[in-house]
Structure formats: C-alpha cells, structure tokens
C-alpha cells in the first residue's frame, strides 16, 4: 500500500507571536516550528501502523521553503520512508492543494492523508480540495481507520455525532484526534532520517486566490474580577447584571 501524508509546518502553540513589515508578515525569528499535530500524531502515525501491519510505503509531502526541512526530517525520524518538498511559499490553501495534486496525480497512491486543520491558520481546507482536484472520494475528520482488502472502514465526526463509513481505495482522508497515539522518534529513527530520500520538486503552476494583507494582535483579557470564595452567589449576580451572560 502506498500512502501519502501531507505535512504542514506550524509554530508551536506556546510561541510568542509577532509581525514585521508593518504587520503584514509573520515574524519567524526565534519561533519553534513543529509538524502540525493532526498531521503527525494522527495521520502519519496511523499511516505507519498500517504500513507496519500490511507492508507498503509511506511518503510525506510538504509545500514550503528550505527552512522547513527540519520539520520534514522529524517526519522521517518518526518513520516515513521518504519525503517530498515542493519548493513554494504555502500562502494559499488552494495553491497548496494544486501543488500536491499535481505531484500526486500519476504516482498511484492508495491513500492520501491530511490533518483536520493546521493549528496556525485553522483552514480545514487542503484535504477536501485535494479530493476534488484528484477526483477521489473524501472522508473528513476521521477518528478511526482500518483497511482490509483495499476497503477503508472509517469512523469520523459529523454534525452532532459520529458515523462509520466504508470506501474503496484510493481516497483522501483528513485525520482528527483518536486515529493513533503520538510517537516519539528514537535515536535510531533520527539517525536513519539523515539518509532517507528527500526529493525537492520545483513548483508547478498554481492559482493563488487569497492573500493576507495584514495582522493585528488580539487584545487579551486584562483584568479578571475576583469574587470571594465565601460568596459565590455574587458571581451569578454579576453574570446576570454585568456580563449579561445569564
């Protein structure tokens, strides 16, 4: 089974955020980047488990500039067999999907996996777009995935509950929490990652349909009003009269 896992590169949530160029550009200086948790913990690890059980190959693909190679190497250290980096700035979901689709279309992947969303921009778009561009079936927000005789059985989140579906491969899946448990790369994996193939592909034509024109930092909540533990009923009163929340 040939599996392609789409990997995005995101700032660690605990990072302090700032902008440059008159608040139009995200300032990457000093920022710790990680593999997007949905891509790593759920999509990649489940892909590796399926490969370990049934044989095959797991390729990770990333659209980004050279500075994201540390992230790609981490994916290889966790156990992906090889990696592809499409050399382009990933600044529009549709363009990213087009680039991945152009690469994947004639490679015969049985399964293409993306994360549910990136934790930085929370688009939740690339997986769905890939399925349309490649004309493949799509199941979003998968929390469980089994494959037998080329048929995927998937449990996924839907509005107000969950659903179990079956779909023949090839297909595209977006991964949500629950598909697998996170793995920590071991020393052997980290050593092996250094010599695993990382193919750099020039960007094909793509359409950029949106752009970010500026950022503003959100104002945090500044003053918490404390209510004495002996009079919690004051809180209920304030929630009614002041916050108008009840």
């Amino acid at each position: 089974m040939k599996i392609l896992v789409c990997i995005s590169n995101v700032p660690d949530t605990t990072t302090k955020i700032s902008f440059t160029n008159g608040d139009t550009t995200f300032n990457t200086a000093g920022v710790q980047f990680i593999i997007n948790p949905y891509d790593e913990w759920y999509a990649l690890v489940r892909a590796l488990e399926l490969k370990e059980a049934q044989g095959g190959n797991v390729t990770i693909i990333h659209v980004g500039a050279a500075d994201s190679e540390a992230t790609i190497r981490k994916g290889l250290a966790i156990g992906a067999d090889d990696a592809v980096r499409i050399d382009a700035e990933p600044n529009d979901a549709f363009a990213v999907a087009e680039l991945i689709a152009a690469y994947a279309k004639d490679k015969g992947f049985d399964l293409i996996m993306a994360g549910k969303e990136t934790i930085s921009y929370n688009g939740s778009m690339v997986g769905a777009m890939l399925s349309e561009l490649l004309n493949l079936p799509f199941v979003s927000m998968a929390t469980k995935l089994e494959i037998t005789n080329n048929i995927a059985t998937i449990e996924h989140d839907i509005d107000g509950g969950t659903e179990v579906v079956e779909c023949p491969l090839p297909m595209v899946i977006s991964a949500n929490k629950g598909m697998a448990e996170a793995r920590i790369p071991n020393m052997r994996g980290i050593m092996a990652a250094r010599s695993k193939p990382l193919e750099i592909v020039a960007a094909s034509a793509s359409d950029k349909l949106t752009s970010i024109t500026g950022f503003t930092l959100s104002k945090g909540r500044t003053d918490c009003k404390f209510i004495d533990a002996s009079t919690p009923e004051k809180l209920i009163e304030l929630l009614h009269t002041e916050a108008k929340a009840i």
């Binding site: 399925s131 561009l133 079936p137 659903e163 500026g214 533990a229 809180l235």
Partner: protein, 323 residues
C-alpha cells in the same frame, strides 16, 4: 450576481449557525444590491430564513441528499451557484462547511476564507475578511482576489437579527444522475446529549482538578441548572473520565459560547486555543497563580468541591427569582 447561503436543519429547526450565515450573507447582498438566496435540504419551518434576511429560499430536492455525502451536496450546490449566477457563497464553519466549502472552492476556483469573524469590507471587486489565527493570538485580514468568493463564518461570531419577513421556499431539483458516491454509510451514532457542544451558548467545563470521573455529578448539575453543555480539558478525555467529544482546545473542539465556566483547569495555551473566543470566561481554581486567571473575566480562588455546590444553589435561587 447574487449571494448564496447554504443552511441546515437540525432537530427540526434551522440551525443557529445557519441563521447567522444568512444574516451575514444578507448584509453583503444588501451592500451589493442583490438577492440573498438561502439554500436548504430537508423539511422544517423555514420562516426564520426570511426573518434572518434571505430574500429567496431554495429547497434542494434529490434522494441522494437525504444522508450527508459531501460529494453529492457539493455537486448540488454547484448547480444552484450556476443557476443563480451566484458569485458569493456563504457557509457556517461547522462540520458540513468544513467539508463542502473547500470542495466547492476547488470546483469553482473560488478563493475561500474559512472561519471569518467579521463583516467583509467590500470595495468594488475587492473583498477583505478577518479571521482568528495562531490560536486566537492574532487576527489576519484576508483579501479574496478571485471572481467567485466563498466565506465560511465562525459560529457564535454575530448576534442574530430576525427583522426580515418570511419568504416562500421554492424547490430546486438537483440532477445527480451522473454521480455515484463510493462511500457507504454503515452506522450513525448521534450524541444523545441534548446540547451540541459547538452550538451551545453556555458551557460548563472541568479539568484534572476534579480528581476523578466520580466527581462530575456536580459539574453536570451546575450545567443542567444553567442550561449549559458540558466540556472538559484534554487529559480528562485522555484518561476516559469524560467522552472524547467533550474535549475542547487546540486538538479538541473549538467553541465560542457566550459564557464559559472553567473549573479545575489550569489554562494551558493549548486549552485556551479552543475557548478564548468565548464572550465571558469564569475561572474557578484553587491556585491563585493558575494561568487561566489571566484570560478570565471573573475568577474565584478556592476549592471547586466547596464552591460548585454553592454555585448550584445560587443558580437555583437566581432562577426562582427571575421566573
């Protein structure tokens, strides 16, 4: 040119997030002097669609749309877009919106902003829309440069105004004869709780400070008295103290209720990422240094096991005086 709004029914009524989307779309339509067409599948009282601002309502008809399948629904909406000459398509950023809006965007080559939190600024053909990024630490302004534009609206970002008048729905027969989805539904498990967490206006959430699942009775009771949904931090779901669909945060559900109660939750940034859009945040924690107090509007420093029962009594008392 027209504005199309995809809307849904849940529990026999048009969903609140859909009414928000209609409100939002109708404001854009008014600005562009065009129709605001709501598109819906299924039967229910549709009067609210008109009240929320729709000037036209189309009911999608096709047996293949009875159960949700993104492929069918996307194709059906694409047919409406083309029949109506729609250039702006609005979704709620819910499960359906997250799947169907980007699929439609790929089909139409439409630029999309997913999770908008503000009215767009429109000048000529240029559209700019704001959304939260980096776990709510910043807001980004997006410009959509394509001819067709799709915006999905983050639920609970706008108060709903229902001052329009009801509109008769017209059937729209979608032709899906040439499409056969390979996806077979084997089982549907609906969450039985009455309140769907992402739609809830009030949420009572608790964390590891509750010590064990056996202590959740008071959390559920407080929620019940307030008419709130229950939620939890990630370790609580990981340890199976609570079901996984209650887990909120960066890797769980993102919510933005009017009121969020965080009881015995430390306030890690990954937790805040899913809740800091809430309008009012109340934190109850025994540690006055707990980081959550920095993101709270109201705080009580103290033992949840003592405070929560008192709060339950206070809510009961409040309800007795306000009914």
């Amino acid at each position: 040119m027209s504005v199309l709004i995809y809307t849904e029914i849940a529990k026999g009524k048009v969903k609140k997030s859909s009414l928000e989307a209609v409100n939002y779309g109708s404001r854009i339509a008014a600005q562009l002097n065009t129709t605001a067409t709501a598109v819906i599948v299924g039967d229910a009282d549709l009067a609210d669609l008109g009240k929320a601002g729709a000037t036209k309502v189309l009911k999608l008809k096709n047996d293949k749309l009875t159960n949700f399948d993104g492929q069918y629904l996307t194709a059906a909406i694409e047919q409406v877009v083309s029949a109506e000459g729609a250039t702006i398509i609005i979704f709620a950023h819910d499960f359906t919106g997250k799947e169907v809006a980007p699929r439609l965007a790929a089909k139409l080559k439409a630029g999309i902003v997913a999770g908008a939190v503000d009215n767009p600024t429109i000048s000529g053909d240029s559209f700019t829309v704001k959304k939260n990024v980096f776990s709510g630490k910043a807001v980004a302004t997006y410009s959509i440069t394509s001819a067709k534009k799709i915006i999905s609206l983050l639920p609970n970002s706008f108060p709903i105004e229902l001052n329009g008048s009801a509109v008769e729905a017209t059937d729209f027969a979608a032709n899906l004869d040439t499409i056969t989805s390979p996806i077979k539904v084997k089982e549907v498990k609906k969450v039985t709780t009455e309140l769907n967490l992402p739609d809830a206006e009030l949420v009572v959430s608790a964390g590891r400070g509750m010590k064990g699942p056996e202590n959740w009775g008071m959390i559920e009771e407080l929620a019940k008295e307030l008419g709130a949904a229950t939620a939890c931090s990630r370790p609580v779901a990981d340890m199976h103290w609570r079901p996984h669909h209650e887990h909120v945060g960066q890797t769980g559900v993102a919510i933005r209720p009017n009121l969020y109660f965080a009881i015995g939750i430390s306030g890690a940034i990954q937790h805040l990422a899913g809740v800091n859009g809430s309008k009012t945040i109340v934190v109850i924690n025994s540690d006055k240094e707990a980081p959550f107090f920095k993101s709270a509007d109201y705080g009580i420093v103290g033992d949840a096991f003592e405070i929560v029962p008192k709060l339950i009594e206070a809510v009961k008392h409040f309800k007795a005086n306000h009914n």
